[in-house]
C-alpha cells in the first residue's frame, strides 16, 4: 500500500486500487482524510473511511422499475452491489462514460453501494482550518447532502454526507426528489 499524504497525489486510476480504511490512527482530529472525485466540473470529497474500493466501470444489470438514479446492480467479487449514477442523483445532465469513469464503492447505512463518478482524482488530507461549515454555503434543499466546503489553495471541494446523498434520511430524500422532479419537468 502506497503511503498517502497531502504532498502526494497517488494515481487512483489503477484497476481495483483499494483504499485502505486503516488510516484512522494517522488522522488527527485537526484534519479530514478524504477521497476526491469529479462530477462534471465540480470536485467532491467523501470521508476515506467510507470508501471500500474504487473500480473501473464494469457490467451493470439494470433493475426495472427502480428509481431513475439507480443504475442497477453489479457483481463485486461475488457480492451484489447496487450502483447509483451520481450525475443523475445530483441533477447533473448525463454524459457518455469515459475511460476515466469509476465506480467508488462506499459503505453507508444501507450497506455497500457503488457510486458512478466522472473521475477519481486523489486522496487528500484537508486541514480543519480549510473547512467551512455548511452555513457558509448557499444551502438549498436540493444540495442538503453537502455537509461542508473545503477551500484548497487552487479549488473548492464539496464534502459529501453519504447517507443524505443516497436519500437515506427522509428530509433530504424529499427535498432531492422535489428538485429532481423540477429538473425532469425542465428537461
Amino acid at each position: 500500500m502506497r503511503a498517502v499524504g497531502s504532498g502526494e497525489r497517488p494515481n487512483l486510476a489503477n484497476w481495483r486500487e483499494t483504499v485502505s480504511a486503516r488510516t484512522t490512527a494517522e488522522t488527527s482530529a485537526a484534519e479530514e482524510h478524504v477521497v476526491i472525485f469529479r462530477l462534471d466540473k465540480e470536485l467532491y470529497a467523501i470521508d476515506i473511511h467510507s470508501v471500500q474500493e474504487i473500480v473501473r466501470l464494469q457490467p451493470i444489470t439494470a433493475i426495472p422499475g427502480s428509481d431513475p438514479w439507480v443504475e442497477g446492480i453489479t457483481n463485486l467479487r461475488g457480492r451484489v452491489v447496487p450502483v447509483v449514477d451520481l450525475r443523475r442523483r445530483c441533477g447533473i445532465p448525463e454524459s457518455e462514460h469515459t475511460p476515466e469513469t469509476r465506480i467508488v464503492v462506499v459503505h453507508c447505512s444501507a450497506g455497500t453501494v457503488g457510486l458512478i463518478v466522472d473521475a477519481v482524482s486523489e486522496v487528500l488530507r484537508i486541514p480543519a482550518s480549510a473547512i467551512e461549515p455548511p452555513n457558509a454555503l448557499s444551502q438549498s434543499a436540493a444540495n442538503a447532502y453537502l455537509r461542508a466546503v473545503a477551500k484548497l489553495p487552487d479549488r473548492l471541494v464539496s464534502l459529501v454526507n453519504l447517507d443524505a446523498l443516497l436519500g437515506l434520511d427522509d428530509a433530504t430524500a424529499k427535498a432531492v426528489e422535489e428538485a429532481q422532479d423540477a429538473l425532469d419537468a425542465a428537461a
Binding site: 433493475i63 422499475g65 427502480s66 439507480v70
Partner: protein
C-alpha cells in the same frame, strides 16, 4: 416505573454485547423449554438444568451491572433451589410465577441491546417468587422421585467422547438408547443381541453397556444401553427397536453436551473461549466453568453465522468460476481440435471435471454445516400451547416428533411464524373445550401433534389436532357471504376444494374472535409467505376427528432451481416451482379480448403479460418476444412473454441490498456464468393475488 425510556449504561463493549445477547438468548430458551416440562416431570436433571440457566443469567447480568436482571434471577434461583431441595413442589402456581419472571427477563435482556429502560416492573414478580418460599416445606415431597428412565447413566461412553464429537461434526445425531427386555422373556440375551444388530443397521454404535462382546455372546441380561451416531430420526429408531419381540421399553434421546461423559478435565485445553466470566456471580453457588447449557464439547466449536455465510458466498463464486472454466475449455478444444495440442484441452477437461466434483462436495459440506435440527423451533412450542390453552380454557397435550430433522438456518428463521400461527389456531379453534369433548366421548385433554420430516429436497411439518375439524358447510356459506366465491362456484365445489377457501383473504370461521388467534387475517398471509419461499401448505380435515395442516418448504433458501430467460437484454431467473410450461409465441393461440391479450392453452385462458414491461422496464423493446413461459401461483396462471428461453439452472439467491429493498416482482439477484448478474423473478407478486402484502422478500435474509 417512571424511568421508562431512560438511557441505560452497561459495562460492556460491542463484542461483549454480542456474547451477552447470544448467551442470554440461549439460557432464556433453556428456561422457556424446561420450565414448561417442569410441571409434567420434575426430575433432578431437569431442575439442575433450570437452576444452572438461571444461575448463568444471574452471573452475566451482575457482571455487566444490570442490577434489575441480577436481582430477578436471584429470586428465581432461590425458588429453584428450594425445589432442588424438595422443599417446594412445581405446582402450576410456581411455574406461572417462574414463567412470568422469564418473560420479564426477556425484556430485561433486550434492554442491554437497546440501552433504553423498558420501564418493566419486576418488584411484584420478585415478591410473588419470594412469597412461594414462605410456604415452602409445607408441601415438601415425601422421599423424592427416583431417577427417571430418561436420566439413565451413559457414563460408560466416556471412552467414545472424541468419536461422539467427530460424528456430531459430521452431521450425525448422537443418540442415547436404552432398551429394556420384558422380564418374562425366556431369551433376553438373544433379544439384546437383536437390539445390537438393529443399532448396527441404524448407524455407528459408539459404545454399549454391557460391552459388545458380552451382548454378541448372548450373555447380556434384560437391558442394553448404547450410544449410536445415526442419521435416522430417533422416532424411526424407536419404532424399529420397539418392533423386536419381547422389548418392554425403548428410550431414545439425543445425547446432550453436558452429559456426565463430557466432564473429564483434560478437555480444558481444547475448550473454546468461555462465553463470559461467571466468577463475577455473587451468589452462594460456587462459580462454574463456562456456559453450561450448550457448551461446545471438545471437537466442536461455535461459529459465527456470518462466517458461514461468507464461506457460502465464496463457494458460490467457485461454482461460477467452474462454469467459466468449462466455457474456456470448450473454446480451447474448438481452437485446438486436430492439432498436436489437443491433448492440452483434454487435460483441462479432466481437471475441470475434478474441480467440479470438489466444488460440489464443498458446497454440499458447507450447506450441511448451516443445517440445524428443527428442535430449536419445536422446543418453543410447548410454551405457546400452554399459554393459548390456559387463556382459551382448553386442555391440550402437545406431542412433537422429528426434532432431529435438519434444515437450513435460513428456513428455520422463516418457518417459525407460520408454524406458530397454525399451532395457535389448532389449540384455539381446533380443540374443543373440555366439557364439550367429554360430551362427545373424547378424552378431555386434546392432543396436538407437530411432526417434522425430510423428503427429497424438502422439509415437511405437520400440525395435527384431534379437535372438531373444519365445518365444510360453514366455510362454504361464509365464503359466499363475504363475496369471496360466487354462489354457483361454491355450490359446485367439492369438500376438498371448499377446504382450500380457508386460505382466502378475509375468511374466518371462528364463531368468536378471540384475542389469541385474532380475526381471519392469517391463513391467507401464512400461505402467501410460505409460497413466497417456494413452499406450499395444505389442509385436511375430518368433521369431529380433527384437522391437519402440512407445510412444505425447500431445505434451503440459498439456492433454487430456475428457468433462465432473457427479456430486453436482462437475464431473469423464474423459479422452476412456478413454471408450468414453455412454448414459442409462433403458433400460440393468443386472442385479444376487450383490449387484453389472452392465451388459450388447452382448456385454460391465461392473461398474457410481457415480463419486462410488467416488472417496470420502460425501455423500448428491440425485438418481439419469441417465447411464452406459463407460470402459476396459488391456482392463478399467467403467460409471460420473453425474448428467449436460456435453460434451467441452479441459482444462488442473493439479496438486492438494502438500498434497493424489496421490489414487486423481483426477489433477488444471482450471478451468471459470465460474472454478470441476472434478476430472480418473484412469481407470487408478479402473478398477483395473495402475497403482495407480504412484508418482505425473504430471499433478502440469505445472501
Amino acid at each position: 416505573m417512571a424511568e421508562a425510556g431512560k438511557r441505560l449504561e452497561f459495562e460492556l463493549d460491542d463484542e461483549d454485547l454480542k456474547l451477552f445477547s447470544e448467551e442470554a438468548a440461549e439460557q432464556i430458551e433453556v428456561l422457556d423449554v424446561a420450565l414448561v416440562q417442569l410441571e409434567a416431570d420434575a426430575d433432578d436433571e431437569l431442575l439442575q438444568r433450570i437452576f444452572r440457566a438461571a444461575h448463568t443469567l444471574k452471573g452475566s447480568s451482575a457482571a455487566i451491572g444490570h442490577k434489575k436482571m441480577a436481582s430477578l434471577t436471584h429470586a428465581m434461583e432461590s425458588v429453584l433451589d428450594a425445589m432442588r431441595q424438595r422443599r417446594l413442589r412445581p405446582t402450576s402456581e410456581v411455574v406461572d410465577a417462574l414463567l412470568a419472571a422469564l418473560d420479564a427477563l426477556r425484556v430485561l435482556a433486550n434492554e442491554v441491546v437497546t440501552r433504553v429502560d423498558s420501564g418493566i416492573e419486576t418488584q411484584s414478580i420478585e415478591e410473588d417468587l419470594l412469597a412461594l418460599l414462605e410456604h415452602a416445606g409445607e408441601n415438601a415431597e415425601q422421599g423424592g422421585s427416583g431417577p427417571s428412565a430418561t436420566a439413565a447413566d451413559f457414563s460408560f461412553a466416556v471412552a467414545a467422547r472424541s468419536e461422539i464429537a467427530a460424528q456430531r461434526a459430521a452431521g450425525k445425531s448422537v443418540l442415547a438408547v436404552a432398551v429394556r427386555i420384558r422380564e418374562d422373556s425366556p431369551l433376553p440375551g438373544i433379544r439384546c443381541f437383536q437390539v445390537l444388530q438393529e443399532l448396527d443397521g441404524a448407524g455407528a454404535v459408539l459404545a454399549t453397556e454391557p460391552a459388545r462382546q458380552v451382548i454378541e455372546s448372548g450373555e447380556a441380561d434384560y437391558a442394553v444401553r448404547a450410544v449410536v451416531a445415526s442419521t435416522m430420526p430417533a422416532s424411526q429408531l424407536q419404532a424399529v427397536l420397539a418392533d423386536i419381540s419381547e422389548v418392554a421399553e425403548v428410550d431414545i434421546r439425543e445425547l446432550t453436551d453436558d452429559e456426565p461423559l463430557a466432564a473429564p478435565v483434560q478437555a480444558a485445553s481444547n475448550e473454546p473461549r468461555p462465553i463470559r466470566p461467571l466468577s463475577a456471580a455473587n451468589g452462594s453457588e460456587p462459580p462454574q466453568t463456562a456456559g453450561p447449557a450448550k457448551r461446545a464439547g471438545a471437537g466442536s466449536i461455535r461459529i459465527d453465522v456470518e462466517r458461514l455465510d461468507g464461506l457460502m458466498n465464496l463457494v458460490g463464486e467457485l461454482v461460477i468460476d467452474r462454469a467459466r472454466l468449462l466455457r474456456i475449455k470448450d473454446q480451447l478444444a474448438a481452437v485446438l481440435a486436430g492439432s498436436e495440442l489437443a491433448e492440452l484441452a483434454e487435460n483441462l477437461e479432466e481437471t475441470t471435471a475434478h474441480l467440479g466434483r470438489i466444488t460440489d462436495e464443498l458446497q454440499d459440506a458447507i450447506m450441511r454445516t448451516r443445517m440445524l435440527p428443527i428442535r430449536s423451533v419445536l422446543t418453543r412450542l410447548p410454551r405457546i400451547v400452554r399459554d393459548v390453552a390456559t387463556r382459551s380454557g382448553k386442555k391440550v397435550d402437545l406431542v412433537t416428533a422429528g426434532e432431529e430433522t435438519e434444515l437450513d438456518r435460513s428456513v428455520i428463521e422463516v418457518i417459525t411464524d407460520p408454524l406458530v400461527h397454525i399451532l395457535r389456531n389448532a389449540v384455539d379453534h381446533g380443540i374443543e373445550p373440555p366439557e364439550e369433548r367429554r360430551r362427545l366421548g373424547k378424552p378431555e385433554t386434546g392432543t396436538v401433534t407437530v411432526t417434522a420430516w425430510n423428503q427429497e429436497a424438502s422439509i415437511y411439518i405437520s400440525v395435527k389436532d384431534d379437535g372438531r375439524g373444519l365445518d365444510i358447510e360453514a366455510i362454504r356459506a361464509k365464503a359466499v357471504e363475504r363475496g369471496l366465491v360466487s354462489a354457483d362456484a361454491a355450490a359446485a365445489a367439492s369438500p376438498d376444494e371448499v377446504l382450500q377457501y380457508i386460505f382466502l383473504p378475509g375468511l374466518s370461521t371462528a364463531k368468536q374472535v378471540s384475542d389469541v388467534s385474532g380475526r381471519g387475517v392469517g391463513l391467507d398471509i401464512v400461505r402467501a409467505n410460505i409460497e413466497r419461499l417456494n413452499g406450499s401448505v395444505s389442509v385436511h380435515s375430518e368433521r369431529g376427528k380433527g384437522t391437519e395442516f402440512v407445510i412444505q418448504l425447500p431445505l434451503t433458501l440459498a439456492t433454487t432451481k430456475a428457468l433462465m430467460v432473457m427479456a430486453r437484454g436482462i437475464v431473469y431467473a423464474i423459479p422452476l416451482v412456478s413454471v408450468t410450461e414453455t412454448l414459442p409465441v409462433r403458433g400460440a393461440d393468443i386472442h385479444s379480448v376487450g383490449g387484453r391479450r389472452l392465451l388459450r392453452l388447452r382448456d385454460a385462458l391465461l392473461p398474457v403479460i410481457e415480463l419486462a414491461a410488467a416488472l417496470g422496464d420502460r425501455r423500448p423493446a428491440e425485438t418481439e418476444p419469441a417465447y411464452i413461459v406459463a407460470a402459476q401461483h396459488a391456482g392463478r396462471q399467467v403467460a409471460l412473454l420473453v425474448d428467449h428461453v436460456l435453460g434451467e439452472q441452479d441459482v444462488v439467491v442473493k439479496s438486492l441490498g438494502e438500498l434497493l429493498g424489496a421490489r414487486p416482482g423481483i426477489g433477488g439477484a444471482t450471478i451468471l456464468g459470465d460474472g454478470t448478474l441476472g434478476l430472480i423473478v418473484d412469481t407470487p407478486s408478479l402473478v398477483g393475488g395473495a402475497g403482495r402484502e407480504g412484508r418482505d422478500i425473504p430471499y433478502a435474509r440469505v445472501a
